[in-house]
Subunit: 155 residues, 2 copies
């Protein structure tokens, strides 16, 4: 229930041809407070409810609780969400021993692409591919909950 | 997923000897917004996550989604909640064909007791026992989410 991950901006599209999976994600938030975000997500054909707590001082680790829920339930809950539903495509790319999740945002966040790598501990090493740029781990404005309120096009 | 219920203040303690079940409830909120409350509840030995939408014009019907979750997960999620955890005892009382849920509040809401009866449609008739007083259906200040922010002792 503790998620450890690092987050980077993406410099170019070369991750696309390396991806082993692509899924459309639509998600909304029942709460966008960074200390208790409540997210409703439809990923491909599946629904999920996810609750996240506050990040640690570096923003690398964060409490996370997730349950798969039925698709019609996710669709109903999405209607209750705050304005600012996020649509994006998620690419999964294997780089050496790690999987990078690359999110290409649409609509009001078009132009933004973020890569995340999940780690088993904060000090774990990983290979940084050349399409990965500046690190943004822990920067709250890059939280999806914040992108739904203050999208990239308004920056 | 639509909850239809009516809510009343309770005039005296006589429901207690009629109750067929008593359970302690502790609950907190990940969001107290009346249009999208997210509640974490421990009831007896079980955990629940509940999401409620906005009430209709009379406040009688409201969208509700609920999932049972493991007790340790509910305990962990309770720690993420906003300040103002609610503790109460719930008594269940059968009155003719209906079950009244009577909540006796503790701590900052001590002195407040509320009875709810769930209906299958808005026009359904039910017997109102003599310990049931003024109707408060749809009055937002009696929502538990609001009692956690603005408790009875401050009224």
């Amino acid at each position: 229930m503790i998620e450890i991950e690092r987050k980077f901006l993406v410099k170019n599209d070369s991750y696309k041809e390396l991806a082993f999976s692509e899924k459309r994600i639509v998600q909304g938030f029942l709460n966008t407070h960074p200390e208790r975000t409540v997210r409703v997500r439809i990923k491909g054909e599946k629904g999920f409810l996810t609750i996240k707590g506050k990040g640690n001082s570096t923003g690398t680790t964060r409490f996370e609780w997730e349950k798969e829920i039925a698709l019609p339930e996710a669709e109903a809950l999405l209607k209750l969400c705050e304005e600012g539903v996020i649509a994006k495509k998620r690419y999964e790319v294997k780089v050496a021993d790690h999987i990078f999740e690359v999110d290409e945002f649409y609509d009001n966040n078009k132009g933004l692409t973020i890569a995340e790598v999940e780690l088993t501990d904060e000090q774990e090493n990983f290979l940084k591919p050349d399409w990965v740029g500046v690190e943004v781990t822990g920067e709250i404005k890059y939280y999806n909950s914040q992108l739904s309120r203050n999208p990239y096009k308004d920056w």
